[in-house]
């Protein structure tokens, strides 16, 4: 490759200027292949701490150090300039790295660019600003995404209904929906936990907040919040949701103008025609679903499989899902989201575990599914100028995380393939926009 000075100018250059031009070219281009070295952070089985590796990539971006994400190269490795501060930080955080000289780095780039290799390089440029939608009160469960970000040391802000309703989402590139119920049914925990202090406190606080924001019912406020989030995505935001935040979000969008909550949730019975009045065209990911009409049943709709109260149908020993492989050069986004050192991943339950394939919109890309079944685990789609990703299940390293269980200690699961999928999503907005090849 040569550095291209504009031809009309080149003819008029003095020798000194040519030299200067060449030097600039060297400075711009050669750091990538010069003997000044590169650091490869492998993400295959050689990596000792996959989760912290994402943190290193994020940390480098915060210091203005660009990171190349090598899609499908050794399970989605990272390549950065061989700076001492990066290698030192890798050592401190326990992240494996390899020092490469210029020719080795060049060979890797060549291998990736070869047409017959399903690989590509994505340049990560700026650290995304991350927000997590989380209520201010204590709730007796934790959230895999915040656990992952805290373990990987990726900073994030906490926002809730007030901020969303006051359009604060525009300050963030990426939004994660905590284990939230956007239908206004308080997680449908009524039958099991109605008398628990945390449940009572939650309901009172939500009701007060709804009133403060001018809504008569919590369900109405949550519906408005869901709509605001949709507008944020439409304007170019990245939305990531797990567990019950996935289906309840779409249910809230579909039920904007109909009461689906029973008396114990909002003081009056639901609209008897609620099922017929759902407007699926408002949804992001799902369509044609049927709501669960029993207010005491711990389930929202038929999107979830197996239903939350029938998880015994699953055998933890045989519960695995498979990641799809995409063309790195032609479909970089789904490729980024599915980078992993394993493509068959151990399943894990949640209030919403898997999505029924027939209820997933046709425009949505399925990233992972349980092979041979109708169960989809991980989906991605576009809306307006933004994207959304829904990931079923609650905690990738705690098969059946119960209310009140202690948070998972990620230092015991630093190579978790399930958690990697979450962190792929966090780095994805850092990618430099690239012209789509198709």
């Amino acid at each position: 490759m040569t550095f291209a000075c504009p031809t009309p100018v080149r003819s008029r250059l003095f020798r000194g200027e040519i030299l200067a031009c060449t030097l600039v070219a060297v400075l711009i281009f050669f750091p990538a292949i010069s003997p000044a070295q590169k650091l490869l952070i492998p993400m295959d089985l050689k990596q000792t701490n996959h989760l912290k590796a994402y943190g290193i990539a994020y940390w480098a971006l915060t210091r203005g150090i660009e990171v190349d994400w090598l899609l499908n190269y050794r399970s989605g490795s990272f390549l950065v300039d061989g700076l001492d501060i990066v290698s030192g930080e890798c050592r401190v955080r326990g992240v494996t790295y390899e020092q490469l000289d210029g020719s080795q780095a060049s060979a890797i780039y060549s291998e990736i660019q070869a047409e017959d290799n399903n690989m590509d390089v994505i340049r990560l440029e700026k650290p995304p600003k991350i927000a997590v939608y989380v209520p201010p009160n204590f709730l007796p469960w934790d959230d895999a995404v915040t656990l992952a970000m805290e373990y990987a040391e990726i900073p994030y802000a906490k926002i809730w209904d007030d901020e969303v309703l006051r359009d604060s989402l525009t300050h963030y590139d990426w939004l994660h929906l905590h284990h939230e119920d956007f239908t206004g049914q308080y997680g449908k925990f009524y039958a099991s936990f109605a008398a628990q202090p945390w449940y009572v406190e939650q309901q009172v606080m939500y009701e007060r907040k709804a009133k403060e924001n001018g809504f008569r019912k919590v369900s109405q406020m949550k519906g408005a919040v869901a709509q605001k989030i949709k507008e944020y995505v439409g304007a170019g935001g990245f939305l990531f949701a797990m567990c019950s935040a996935t289906d309840t979000y779409d249910i809230a969008l579909a039920s904007q103008n109909v009461d689906i909550c029973d008396a114990m949730y909002d003081g009056d019975p639901p609209d008897p025609q609620f099922q017929k009045k759902l407007d699926y065209s408002n949804c992001l990911a799902f369509t044609g679903f049927t709501l669960e009409s029993n207010p005491l049943r711990y389930e929202y709709s038929d999107i979830d499989f197996p239903p939350s109260d029938m998880v015994q149908l699953l055998n933890p020993e045989t519960d695995y899902f498979t990641l799809f492989e995409f063309s790195a050069k032609y479909d970089p986004v789904p490729t980024m989201l599915t980078q992993d050192h394993a493509n068959i991943i151990r399943g894990f339950l949640g209030q919403t575990t898997n999505f029924k394939k027939r209820l997933v919109r046709q425009t949505v890309t399925i990233l992972a599914e349980k092979e041979g079944t109708e169960e989809v685990r991980y989906v991605h789609g576009n809306f307006g100028r933004g994207t959304f990703t829904f990931y079923g299940g609650h905690d990738p390293e705690d098969y059946q995380h119960q209310v009140g269980d202690p948070p998972t200690d990620l230092s015991l699961h630093k190579n978790s393939p399930g958690y990697r999928l979450i962190l792929n999503n966090i780095l994805f907005p850092a990618a430099k926009k690239k012209q789509q090849k198709t």
Binding site: V92, T96, V200
Partner: protein, 616 residues
Amino acid sequence: MRWIVPLLAFLATAALPLPALAQTNPSDIRTRLAQSYEKSGDFESALRVYNELFISDSGNFSLIESLKRCHLKLKQHDEVIALIEHGLRLHPRDLGALAQLGNVWFLKGDEAKALDGWQRAVAIEPNDETTYRVVGSSMVQVRQFERAVETYRTARTNLAKPNAFASDIAYLYGVMQKFRESTEEYLVLLRETPAQLNYIQSRISSFTGNEAGLKEATLVVAAAVKSAPQNVEIRRLHAWLSMEAKDYDAAFETYRQIDVLTAAGGKELFGFAERALNEKRYSAASRAYAEVIERNPNFREVPRARYGLARSYEEMAAPAKAEDTSLAGRYTRATEMYGRIVFDHPNTDIAARALLRLALIKKEKLSDPAGAKDYLEKISSEYKIFLPTAIEAKLTLGEVYIELDDLDRAATILAEVAGPPPFGGADREQAALRLAELRFYREDYKGASAILSDLMKNAVSDAANDAIPLQMLIAEQGKENAAGLRTYASARLLRAQRRYAEALEVLDGALTSDTADVLRDRYAFLKGEILSSPSGLSGAGRTDDAIAAFSLIIDTLPESLLRDRSMFSAAGLYETGKADRLLAIGMYERLLEKYPNSIHANAARKRIRELRGDSI
């Protein structure tokens, strides 16, 4: 037998379920049909049938209720209101119907009319407590908690019962997160029914997990104690709240008063002291035990109280920093109290435990093995029936005899504990390990190795963990470097006997005499350990020497298996002994660079981050 057939026929008829007979009534069949529709969620169809039935039976209360239910499900509030009004025309003083009318107006979104309905209900029988209960409950059904509280408060005035509905009001305030008001109402209940203390504690505990809730409840109850100092139950509630807030000093003061007020003779205070000791609140525990003993000499738990007091004194005497070895009478109070227990309560379990504590203070805190020996021998001879204490005493005695250089006696005692029952379990393994070390010190490598092999069979035990490195050392060096191993063993023995200067002399000699000795890293590491040990040499300021010992391994013995440990230890000394943050970070980083898989790597990472001030 001909009578049997008619009898069976009669019995069969009699056994027929009543509904089966009732099916002959067409309106009953229609009712069942409507109920089936309702049950299946088809409220429109249910309503159609109920309405048909209503035309011919408009005074049927059950039918009206069914109609109301279905209309409510269909959000047909006007129809429900009409039905209620219809019922009220038949029964104008129907309290439940009026309260329900208020609810339906509320659901319809007309709060003024809702309020009117509820007020009409109250006006039916304003002098009856039930009226307010029905109306209040209706309001709670639609989550109108504030209005329900207002209703109950109105009841208090109208009925001239200032304490009525305390439990309901307290609960509602709790739900509304009004902790001060909730606690005040629970106090009303407590004053009226002191036996409800446990119930009240359980109710209040629903918000004491909340910091603000605990604070407000405590303030309210403290004020109540001031205004009613003789009320024991309020004081108990106050003490409980203090302990919930981990304020054991305040709880102590409260229990003192309770003990006096209830003439408990120390029982109340003793119970508190035991809890405080378990919670490691030694200051509060010691004050409580001391007061129990002083004020209640005839209390039957005085021996236990004395032991608890001595334990509290002992724990409070421990230096705040490990390096602080000043003894200056620190343990005098504890040892005096243990001594009095032994003297005043001889031949008891509590005396045996006191003797063991005395021995441990002598051995561990005061470096007085001879003094410890006397106590331990006494336990072994006079208190052996108190088995758990006796076993621990034996094991300690073995260690004491090693320290006193009576290795034969130590071996005999340790062999006894390491032998067959009554001794066993972890104590047996610890004794076996000590015995193996003893044989190692005495250059009986074969004997040591046999014991260590046996210990390693139980791979999950702590003793096995310690047995492995010693076994490896013997296996590697026992034959090829007998002289070196002998030197090393003698230095280890001297350290075990706390003869640190002599140990260092041996190690220095070994380090200077033969620079090719493969055990040089062991010598240097042991030297570093001794020099950095807080209880080590009387001469302080040996940190530099300790760092130098570790540096010998780091800088000159690159193949040593102890190099990562040396780096970690040296970094620790830079950090704590020299307070040199940068040198410490540098050494930890060097460890990570050279030995990324060291067992110390995680700890080194953590130290670097803490020294850097990272928020992890």
